[in-house]
């Protein structure tokens, strides 16, 4: 899986899931971009009428072209920034831990990690018409600590993800218990 380049696996650790936000949640930004891209055309047609744009002052023509270029470059940059923000939000689930990478704007990136064995409760929620149709929603992971919880927003198939995380957490707890038992047995003095 391509998400492997985002984290350093421990010996024997396997990547189980890489969770992205559902692509449909990016659709609103595409629509906003299309509307903003169409605004100058409609505005100019409204101001100058249907006969076309005629600017007598050559300086006015230069100013309009430069302003137009700056406007389109501005909304193009905003759209790209939104894409980067959307694309870099990722949650990784291995057979031992959960890693949540959250990109908040350009200069704020948070990475949090949680051992699967510490998970107490996992809840999933699909709320609203569009999320129900496209099957995406929120998964919340609760640990023993009251304040510590992970929230995966707008991920695809949240109920299946919740079940998978619960299964992995149970497996990890068994694995840890076996290791602890093994250590105790090997620590017993038989002489």
């Amino acid at each position: 899986m391509s998400a492997k380049r985002l984290f350093q696996p421990k010996p024997g650790e396997k990547l189980m899931m890489a969770l992205h936000r559902h692509p449909i949640t990016f659709l609103k930004y595409i629509l906003i971009f299309i509307v903003l891209a169409g605004v100058p055309t409609f505005a100019l047609a409204f101001v100058w009428g249907a006969d076309g744009i005629t600017v007598a002052n050559p300086l006015g023509r230069v100013a309009i072209v430069l302003l137009g270029a700056a406007y389109y470059l501005g909304i193009w940059l905003a759209f790209f920034t939104q894409f980067v923000d959307h694309y870099l939000d990722i949650s990784i689930v291995t057979d031992h831990r959960v890693i949540d990478i959250d990109q908040k704007g350009l200069f704020n990136r948070a990475v949090a990690e949680l051992n699967l064995a510490r998970i107490q409760d996992v809840t999933s929620e699909v709320k609203g018409f569009i999320p129900t149709v496209f099957n995406y929603g929120r998964v919340t992971i609760q640990t023993a600590s009251e304040s510590e919880h992970f929230i995966f927003e707008n991920i695809h198939r949240p109920h299946a993800v919740r079940q998978r995380i619960l299964d992995l957490a149970q497996g990890d707890r068994k694995h840890e218990a076996k290791e602890m038992l093994g250590e105790k047995i090997s620590g017993v003095d038989v002489t």
Partner: protein
């Protein structure tokens, strides 16, 4: 009559371009460095740069005939003091 040299209009535009290039590069570096798929990150960066080149290209072509050294009237100050239109 208040007049300015056409090239002066390029100053705010170039300031904006500096802002655009800086934030565009930050985005691309973020994408290539932290993106889960290098192929998709590269593709998205190429699309962004391509789109930017198209917009700048359109502006460039639209301004090809402009003589940047010529002074153009900005607006007629006579309108304000009542000496003329």
């Amino acid at each position: 009559m208040i007049s300015i040299v056409a090239a002066w209009l390029l100053i705010p535009f170039l300031a904006f371009m500096a802002f655009f290039v800086f934030f565009g590069l930050v985005n691309i570096v973020h994408l290539l460095h932290y993106g889960p798929s290098l192929t998709l990150a590269t593709l998205a960066s190429i699309v962004f740069v391509g789109g930017s080149v198209v917009i700048i290209g359109y502006a460039w072509v639209a301004l090809l005939g402009v003589d940047w050294g010529i002074t153009y009237p900005l607006f007629n100050a006579g309108v304000l003091d009542g000496t003329g239109i």
